[in-house]
Symmetry: C2
Subunit: 469 residues, 2 copies
């Protein structure tokens, strides 16, 4: 009889598979207050690596990090009309503090848009202060009615960038640069996720933005997940917060601002993009544990050999970890590391060692290679590169297989049951979009036919439609 | 006539000098909600470096990072009696969220002690799960009546470590290890701050701890600042949260827990320890800008020369930045970089360049060296090492000069007006401590006569007394 599966199979119940992975791979738990989450060491290690890789790209785009307060006066949110309307239903409000009722309640930030607006106005005097390029890593709170760990939580961790520019063109160019050079580059080359980039329809736009661009990914079940957004805010926040500057001719002008964000939601996307019935799959460039060296049995010097393999891998710059926990069965440990999605496993046991060999196992295809001890570092390095490439290839292949170009709204609805539909925006239009919404299908983004981000919405522009998380 | 000073001189008004530095060096602003702060790019860059250096040390001590929720059910805090008593007056409470009044209000974490307790209880089953060594980087909120940026703010950033152990000895050893190997090592060798380590008296202990150890530093005005604490919590939290384990004999036992923290307060300590009437002084090992290369005038190829100096410094692993902002006067820029405390300044101008030379200026003593272009990298590297050493030496010298061993409580009161008093704890005692408190003087820590951390309070133990921030 076959062993009972450790996880609910994906084909049986994808959302339950996801919950199983969170628990069994020790990624995260639900927090005690509804909708909050506890990110455990293995999950947080992934987030730390995401932060490091993203932070380097954001800094390479010229932005500097700051920290803005958690608490925002309620009045700030009311200054930008669409913004307050967008966020009001989700706000958490502190009414009591220091043992007293507050004269003015304060809001726990749902985003720091407004407080950046207030301080940018103070810091910007002249055209010489532009562009002002700021970013922040922080927690934000949006009260969620249907929370799901990483995907939709009452509190989440994110980075939010906020910039001010002298012209609309400069703002648009920077928002696009972040989308492509920071976000898309990270998601494709580190997370190994094929990403669609495009603009949002008016319906899907951020509250207060004049243009929202997004990175969209396909999950293992064919649904879409928004992985990051970059917004042109036009002069809306500049007007509301008096963010202005003296131009070189001595004239006072309003700034053009942008904002852009990615969050712990990317962890959910990573799990659902690469995971399989054996658990997570972490792409090697992201992994904080790229290789686990598993000691099979501590006999005949196998323990020393395993430690020496770890040392050599570490010396070669590979993020390796030793599992010498032989009190637990080898099979159980191998399964656990598969659940956690560690890209490469090196098994060191007395039997192989008699011939000076160890076994290298790839997580993606389960292939095993018995190799000489002296070559293990090279073999592992090649395997890591191969796994990185294969994960991206597999995800791309699945997305292609599940994406269909259609000509009618009826076909779009059909296709979106199991994947992405591509339909001309001139055919769909806002009324078609409204119809799709009644079937829980949304326009994920609008793209040029060649997959680039449209700068204007002409007849050729394609809408990518899907069900989404 | 002498120029008006940019900062209030320290001797005139030290607290005002501190506020001036915060503003003029563009470190931080007050946030709109009372007691909150906005950390600007230059200040946040320092905090990022603090985080990186501390995080590496904490990980070297075996702890892993996690993330716990911002919101805590009120009931959690009530479970440990002393703990709730310690924090009640400082709590911020969310009563409304998602457009409704909450059935149960939630507290914004003043520390995550209780939530760590709850989850440690879930994660620990047997002695094999111990020690459990966790850390978190997060924001916390304690409503402050007399806020001061970095030193005492309603919201601050910190790391809080929480660990569970099988025995009291293990817990004590780990709390001490963090104090010495993570905190003291970082503060002395990176921040260049001489630190006193010792234990707190019962009066100064953390709410719920059985022992609190601390790092204490002397500021430029002779007052003390607590830079970090490490607590043995005994079995108090283990009892309150059922953190227990099956020992190797199959018996259920309560864990022994610890917690330890350092915060953005260290930024305040850094400013007040090394700063002078010209501004901040950032120790080179901490500095995110170790060297600024200032282009004096962009003539005769000076711009290219300055850029090439920056490139060579960066290639040599020096964190260098170019200031080619010649629209602002050279003098003004030099003053601004002094305000920001950049340890070494390289001035590149057409006059020196005619002789293939540049000028290297140390921030600590203002000394200038005109050196050949080809040697600038080596000269700068030596200067950085020298500044690091000199800052520690200067702070140590000042502390020694302002520390006096005394035999009576009256003398202790006298000495604490301008520095630290050292008095035998057997002479002072709890009644003496109470008397000092009426003069706003506290026991900063108890030490062995040789400056080590006492493991028991015998007759030789010395109390360090001072006024404190």
């Amino acid at each position: 009889m076959a062993k009972a599966p450790i996880l609910t199979p994906q084909a049986e119940d994808f959302p339950r598979w996801y919950q199983d992975v969170l628990a069994k791979a020790e990624l995260a738990d639900n927090g005690p207050v509804r909708g909050t989450m506890v990110i455990r060491p293995y999950g947080y290690g992934l987030w730390e690596r995401m932060q490091a890789e993203m932070d380097a790209r954001i800094k390479a785009c010229g932005a500097e990090n700051v920290y803005m307060p958690l608490f925002i006066p309620e009045s700030y949110l009311r200054r930008e009309a669409e913004h307050v309307e967008g966020f009001s239903p989700e706000l958490a409000v502190v009414t009591h503090a220091g043992g007293k009722e507050l004269e003015e309640p304060v809001v726990v930030r749902p985003t720091s848009e407004t407080i950046f607006g207030e301080f940018m106005a103070k810091w910007i005097q002249s055209y010489r202060d532009l562009p002002l390029l700021l970013n922040q890593w922080a927690n934000v709170v949006r009260w969620e009615l249907r929370p799901r760990v990483f995907l939709r939580t009452t509190e989440f961790l994110w980075q939010e960038g906020h910039t001010a520019h002298a012209t609309r063109q400069d703002g648009a160019a920077y928002a696009t640069r972040i989308l492509l050079e920071a976000y898309e580059d990270f998601m494709v080359n580190v997370l190994a996720m094929p990403i669609l980039v495009g603009v949002k329809t008016r319906r899907e736009r951020f509250a207060g933005a004049i243009n929202t661009m997004a990175c969209e990914a396909m999950m293992g079940d064919g649904k879409a997940l928004q992985m990051g957004t970059s917004h042109e805010l036009g002069q809306n926040f500049a007007k509301a917060f008096d963010i202005d500057f003296l131009d070189s001719g001595g004239q006072r002008q309003l700034c053009w601002t942008t904002s852009w964000g990615t969050s712990t939601r990317m962890l959910g996307g990573l799990i659902m993009c690469h995971g399989d019935d054996n658990g997570m799959q972490v792409p090697p460039r992201l992994a904080h544990v790229q290789v686990v060296v598993v000691l099979v049995r501590d006999e005949d010097g196998a323990g020393d050999a395993a430690r020496s393999v770890v040392d050599r891998l570490l010396a070669a710059g590979v993020r390796a970890r030793l599992d010498a926990n032989t009190a637990t069965s080898f099979g159980r440990r191998a399964t656990d590391w598969e659940l956690k999605g560690v890209p490469v496993r090196v098994e060191v046991g007395p039997r192989d060692l008699k011939e000076d060999k160890v076994t290298v196992v790839r997580r993606d295809d389960g292939s095993k290679l018995t190799v000489g001890l002296s070559t293990v570092t090279e073999v592992v390095s090649v395997a890591l590169e191969t796994v990185q490439t294969s994960l991206l290839a597999a995800a791309s292949k699945r997305r292609e297989a599940r994406t269909v170009a259609v000509d009618t709204i009826e076909e779009a609805i059909e296709v979106a049951q199991s994947g992405f539909g591509r339909i001309r925006w001139s055919v769909l239009g806002e009324s078609g979009e409204e119809l799709l919404a009644t079937k829980a299908i949304t326009v994920r983004c609008l793209q040029n036919p060649d997959g680039t981000v449209p700068t204007e919405i002409d007849d050729e522009v394609v809408a990518v439609v899907a069900r989404a998380y």
